[in-house]
């Protein structure tokens, strides 16, 4: 799994470390580091909990799995 952490955005709260069921993350120098990306099963619970939206899993998109409200999608595409 290709996991990217936006180190500028990360606030070092450690919620992803606590939240991840597979212990993928560790805090190092106040920034979250995906130390075991191979363990990741792509549940994206870390995305949900991250206050700064600093995490990115390449190739996995939660909204593409369970499709939602047309109006929401329209609006989402137009927020600039």
């Amino acid at each position: 799994m290709d996991i990217r952490v936006d180190t500028d955005a990360c606030v070092g709260c450690g919620l992803c470390v606590k939240d991840c069921p597979m212990d993928v993350y560790e805090l190092r120098d106040g920034v979250s580091v995906p130390v075991k990306p191979k363990n990741c099963m792509g549940c994206l619970s870390c995305h949900e909990i991250c206050p700064a939206q600093a995490l990115e899993h390449r190739g996995i998109y939660p909204a593409r799995r369970h499709y939602i409200d047309m109006r929401v999608c329209e609006m989402l595409n137009r927020v600039i």
Binding site: I49, A63, M75
Partner: protein, 305 residues
């Protein structure tokens, strides 16, 4: 290039935010004519052939609705400008009171009201609720912010006029905040007037209801950096907007509970005045109201009587 800036149910702060571009306004008017803007010029009706119309404010009465329809007809692109236009904003809070309560307050109870206590009937009547402009008509772009901050407008307005694309941050306020966030013990919720928050640690961890983690950024976290908890004026962050099961209330609850190891039920008991502390800027938005676990429906029902 002709641009218009319309005022609907709002405070006109968004137009003032455009004026806050200061000397950059000269570059702006060199590229585009401002042909209609009730706050800064004297034209009463929007002319034909507008290229970009910036609509500020929510839809609360029939006049707002008519104006929006007219502008949609006469403009090629309509931009919802500011949080009122995007999510109903502060105007939406009027839904927490009945029309009678609102008119009584405005025309009779305020200190500056006329002594005769007459409620005028020659003004446009209210619609049954507040709407964001996107709930009523097709919108081409949304720019959030209450008002959109000047540093951000300096980037976005020239780009819109030139038709360029820009890569901008799409993250939450926390991503721009420099405070340290981490697990806390013995957490309890504080009102804003209680104590003075320390500058180093996360305001939410200190017990203040800071909405930074569920709020769209681009304000440079101006409030948290000045010891003021985020009130959510930029509207919901894009993950809250996108995911059907996420809402401002439940994401705040979950995050506080995870940070503090306090059960959600316990945290929930400490919340106060949810309509004003969490939904102050999004209560008028149908999109936010229609989320499965949104509290907006209950709040409006309970308070408007």
């Amino acid at each position: 290039m002709k641009i218009a800036i319309e005022e609907l149910a709002g405070c006109s702060g968004c137009t003032i935010a455009v004026l806050d571009l200061h000397e950059m306004l000269l570059d702006l008017v060199a590229q585009a004519d401002i042909v209609y803007s009730p706050v800064i010029m004297d034209v009463k009706e929007p002319p034909e052939g507008i290229d970009i119309a910036f609509v500020t404010g929510a839809i609360r009465n029939e006049e707002n609705h008519e104006r929006l329809k007219l502008l949609r007809k006469r403009a090629k692109k309509v931009v919802a400008f500011g949080t009122c236009a995007c999510y109903g904003g502060v105007s939406g809070l009027s839904m927490l009171s009945s029309n009678d309560e609102l008119f009584n307050y405005v025309y009779r109870e305020t200190a500056t009201a006329d002594d005769d206590g007459v409620i005028p009937n020659d003004v446009p009547p209210f619609l049954y609720r507040a709407f964001a402009v996107g709930d009523i008509t097709k919108i081409d772009y949304y720019i959030t912010g209450c008002p959109p901050k000047e540093a951000f407008l300096r980037q976005i307005i020239p780009a819109i006029i030139a038709g360029d694309t820009l890569a901008l941050s799409r993250k939450s306020v926390c991503a721009e905040c420099d405070r340290k966030m981490g697990p806390v013990e013995n957490w309890s919720l504080k009102r804003r007037h209680e104590g003075i928050p320390d500058r180093e640690h996360c305001l939410l961890g200190q017990g203040y209801l800071c909405l930074g983690s569920v709020t769209f950024g681009r304000c440079g976290a101006a409030c948290p950096k000045n010891n003021v908890p985020c009130t959510g004026c930029n509207g919901p962050s894009l993950d809250v907007l996108r995911e059907p099961c996420r809402d401002i209330y439940n994401m705040m609850l979950r995050r506080i509970s995870d940070l503090t190891d306090k059960p959600q039920k316990e945290v929930e008991k400490e919340f106060y005045d949810v309509a004003h502390t969490m939904y102050a800027f999004t209560i008028g938005s149908l999109i936010m109201e229609d989320k499965e676990n949104s509290k907006i429906r209950d709040l409006v029902k309970e308070r408007s009587g």
